[in-house]
């Protein structure tokens, strides 16, 4: 590497670092909340673009060597984000919500999944993808999984529009539909196992289902036992980093979906009596954004914006998803309690696309990277990234058309709201 090239690499990486600092600044988060934009637009897009530009041979900053060095952070980031999504699946929190919430979540996530799968399938056929191929169904299901999650809302700000209780309900919905997306991805990963040569484990899909659940469960319990023994916050951080890396590494080694296995481990941990639950959640949220930004740089480096098929699928994806969310919200409002906002507010709150969609499509792309049809995976990444931006514009237009107030979305706050104290049967300190 020549000295001029090294200087370019240093300046490029320093610029990325400076941008990361800027994106993590509280003022940026405040602006996100104020203008109601998601992390994808405010911070995510610049990082995707950095990845895409720095990867170009003419620029030569993200060389294959540097990308190789960033690869562990990328794998770890996938796992960490999955773990955070799993940790939001707290059954006790859901128990405090009305019973009808289950039906509401099912409708508002499954309806857009169905509409998106159907519309994207048609788009793929029109692009010449043979529909009899097993990979066709897999791709349609991955698009469906990407359609489920809605961007988290700013509960406090939304509460001013629809009332605090209703805002909390919508917050719980957006938490759980991220889990739904990972469940869908898990099903895809089990039904359509990637081809790995020379493996010693040749199992049917049902056995892989048990392996996925079992691995996530065992690693969740191991994480719990490890964290119970932590003596200091520093050790807690070290153990959490190690546990998530181990989950991600094992899932990758067994060719399972990394965020899915980590989400199972996280969900198990969320429902066990941790002695320092607030501390653990704080660590998870604080580390999430920087990792997500590194993750986006690596995604950007493998992103091919010139694949026109992705641009063609993107409007279909957005239209089908937004229509599905609208329809799902209408149906959900019928089965849901009066504690939900009215159908239009609910639909507008659930329409913005969660950054988890990109995680889902990238996790699928990573899983199937060595199984052929890499071009179609590239279209998918393209469609979901462009779809996220288009969705923001569509939602803005719909809000203006309907004369509704701007419904703010936000990334999770760094300090989580503590859960109410639990009764400890073992007599230990809460």
């Amino acid at each position: 590497m020549g000295h001029g090239h090294v200087a370019r690499v240093v300046m490029g990486l320093s610029a990325a670092l400076a941008l990361a600092v800027l994106a993590a600044h509280p003022e940026v988060r405040r602006l996100e909340r104020r203008f109601g934009i998601t992390v994808l637009l405010s911070s995510g897009l610049p990082f995707l673009l950095i990845g895409a530009i720095f990867r170009q041979r003419a620029v030569g900053i993200l060389t294959p060597e540097i990308l190789g060095d960033l690869r562990p952070a990328f794998e770890f980031g996938l796992g960490w984000i999955g773990f955070v999504v799993g940790m939001s699946f707290d059954v006790r929190k859901l128990d405090r919500m009305p019973r009808s919430l289950g039906g509401v979540i099912a409708l508002e996530s499954i309806v857009p999944m169905a509409t998106t799968a159907a519309a994207c399938s048609i788009a793929l056929v029109l692009l010449g993808v043979p529909w009899r191929n097993a990979g066709f169904a897999r791709d349609a299901l991955v698009f469906a999984a990407c359609a489920a999650p809605s961007a988290p809302i700013a509960i406090e700000a939304f509460g001013h529009v629809v009332g605090e209780r209703r805002a909390r309900m919508v917050g719980a919905i957006t938490d759980v539909d991220e889990v739904t997306a990972l469940v869908a991805l898990g099903i895809v990963a089990i039904l359509f196992r990637p081809t790995v040569e020379n493996v010693l484990w040749v199992l049917p899909s049902s056995a892989w289902f048990l392996v996925t659940l079992g691995l996530g469960g065992v690693l969740g319990i191991v994480t719990y036992v490890l964290l119970r023994g932590a003596k200091t916050a520093t050790e807690e951080l070290a153990l959490l980093l190690g546990a998530v890396a181990l989950c991600a590494g094992m899932a990758e080694h067994l060719a399972l979906s990394v965020p899915v296995v980590c989400a199972i481990a996280g969900a198990l941990l969320a429902n066990l009596p941790l002695s320092d639950e607030i501390g653990v959640r704080k660590i998870l949220v604080e580390v999430e954004r920087p990792l997500y930004l590194v993750f986006l740089v690596v995604v950007g480096a493998s992103w091919n914006p010139w694949a026109w098929q992705g641009w063609a699928v993107a409007p279909v994806f957005v239209f089908a998803r937004v229509a599905g969310k609208w329809l799902g919200a209408r149906l959900a409002r019928r089965v849901g309690s009066d504690e939900l906002p009215d159908a239009a507010d609910l639909a507008l709150a659930l329409m913005p696309q969660s950054p988890i969609s990109i995680v889902v499509i990238v996790a699928a792309a990573t899983l199937y990277a060595h199984t052929g049809h890499a071009d179609r995976i590239g279209w998918g990444i393209n469609a979901v990234i462009i779809g996220g931006i288009l969705t923001e514009l569509v939602v803005r237009a719909l809000q203006r058309l309907s004369g509704r107030a701007r419904l703010p979305t936000e990334a999770p706050e760094p300090v989580p709201v503590p859960l109410p104290a639990r009764t400890h049967s073992s007599g230990e300190e809460p």
Binding site: M1, H3, V6, V9, V10, L13, S14, L17, A20, V21, A24, H25, P26, I66, G68, D69, R71, P72, E75, F76, G79, V196, N198, V199, L200, W201, V218, L219, V222, V225, L226, G229, K231, T232, A233, T234, E235, E236, L237, A238, L239, L241, G242, A243, V244, A245, L246, C247, A248, G249, M250, E252, H253, A255, D276, G279, P290, T366, A369, H370
Partner: protein
């Protein structure tokens, strides 16, 4: 201890089970770095907990964990995994060095500078001389020096003696951080190893130049120009890094720990290409922050402290995984002899230096223990010899790595024991409330040692 042992066994069983997915010898499609990082981090921490009640440093547990689960014994961590963790190791070196530099306030050290220089110089000179003389004698029997003329035997012994004289700021910093030690022994040991690091880098470049002169046609470019670029460039880069961190802390002041971690990554990436020493870059940055900039080095340490445990655990576990046990067995006898002679040289040199500077007798009796450990820089230099001088370098590196292994395993135990006897363990400022959720009792072994 029981809990940690069970957890360690459980982690090992889980990893063995997962590895059975692929036939022996084949690697998974991904990098495997996440699996290696996660497993090593968790297993190293548990191994540290297993050894702690025995009065041994956790750091020894980290190294042993890496060695046992590494490629040479159980093979859970494969050579490609170790290679993938190189960047983690480079970042860790930078972070450890930065913290070490931030610990040293030159103004407060000034009154003790005579002791530092006298003891440090005495120890290095004596250890270097004894090890050089022993190597010169051994060169008549060692296979890799067979057929060399007298001049060549001298220069090879010189360069090998330089490597074996190297100390370890990383280990000393690791022990100090782990035991939260504070006191005269802690400060003196850290000051000497940091300054000695610079001396060793310069001396190695000089002796390496002598080797090139003696063996024409071997090795890459070297000499004074390369030395100046290496040392000067590293120090200049360190000052630049220190300035960036200072400006960041001053103007932005949020997520300082993460920012420093990012800076260490950039330094690790660029340093590799520019042939900068990450240890020197980190040390210079830390010294700049503590002694020149308005930002307190301790403020920087406070923000990077949460990363200390994972950094030390993974760094030393990787160091352990890189240990060449089979090679060590081939040279075990010579290696132990060299390690003993090195330790004797350090002990005698410290006593002489301490007497000249009229150092406190208690301190004089213990200061050599901080110089016994070897790790990062000496390993790097030994590997450099293997790469640069292929005909005989590999044999020399085998002997050097074997000797370093002895010091690597024994040194931390002896230094920790000395800190315990000096009553300096746990004397650093009590951690913040959020940090010390549960008060960690001192191990009974420490109390016993102090009474003794």
């Amino acid at each position: 201890m029981t809990r940690a042992t069970i957890l360690l066994a459980l982690l090992a069983v889980l990893s063995f089970a997962a590895r059975s997915f692929l036939p022996p010898g084949s690697e998974a499609a991904g990098s495997g770095a996440a699996l290696a990082f996660g497993f090593l981090l968790l297993a190293a921490i548990q191994a540290g907990h297993v050894l702690k009640p025995l009065g041994m440093p956790q750091l020894t547990g980290f190294i042993l964990c890496g060695a046992v689960f590494g490629p040479e014994i159980l093979g859970l961590i494969t050579p490609p995994m170790v290679h993938d963790l190189t960047v983690v190791k480079r970042v860790a070196v930078g972070l450890i060095a930065l913290t070490a530099g931030c610990e040293l306030n030159l103004r407060s050290l000034l009154p003790r500078m005579r002791s530092i220089v006298s003891v440090g110089a005495g120890a290095l000179l004596m250890a270097f001389t004894l090890v050089f003389l022993l190597l010169l004698v051994l060169s008549f029997w060692l296979p890799f020096t067979r057929g060399f003329d007298a001049g060549q035997r001298v220069v090879v012994s010189l360069v090998c003696a330089t490597v074996l004289t190297a100390l370890s700021p990383a280990v000393v910093m690791g022990i100090i951080s782990e035991t939260r030690s504070k006191g005269p022994l802690t400060e003196l040991a850290l000051s000497i190893v940091v300054l000695a690091d610079l001396v060793i880098v310069v001396t190695f470049s000089l002796t390496e130049s002598a080797v090139r002169w003696s063996f024409p046609g071997e090795g890459g470019p070297g000499g004074w120009g390369a030395l100046a670029a290496h040392v000067g460039g590293s120090i200049a880069a360190g000052v630049a890094v220190g300035t960036i961190v200072w400006l960041y802390v001053w103007r932005v002041g949020v997520k300082i720990g993460l920012f420093i971690f990012g800076v260490c990554f950039v330094v690790a990436e660029a340093g590799g290409a520019l042939h900068l020493d990450p240890l020197l870059v980190g040390l210079s940055a830390g010294l700049f922050l503590e002694n020149v900039s308005p930002v307190s080095g301790h403020e920087v340490i406070r923000h990077t402290e949460p990363a200390a445990m994972p950094t030390f655990a993974v760094f030393f576990a990787v160091v352990g995984a890189e240990v060449h046990l089979r090679l060590f067995l081939a040279v075990a006898g010579w290696a132990v002899l060299l390690a003993v002679v090195r330790a004797t040289g350090l002990l005698v040199g410290c006593r002489v230096g301490a007497r000249l500077s009229r150092l406190d007798p208690d301190l004089a009796r213990r200061i050599h223990t901080g110089m016994l450990p070897q790790a990062g820089i000496s390993l790097g230099l030994a590997n450099l010899i293997a790469e640069q001088f292929p005909p005989w370098g590999e044999g020399a590196a085998t002997l050097l790595l074997g000797t370093i292994l002895v010091s690597q395993l024994v040194g931390p135990i002896v230094f920790r024991s000395a800190l315990a006897r000096a009553g300096e363990i746990g004397k650093r400022d009590a951690p913040e409330a959020s940090e010390a959720r549960i008060t960690e009792p001192e191990s009974t072994a420490d109390v016993e040692l102090r009474r003794g």
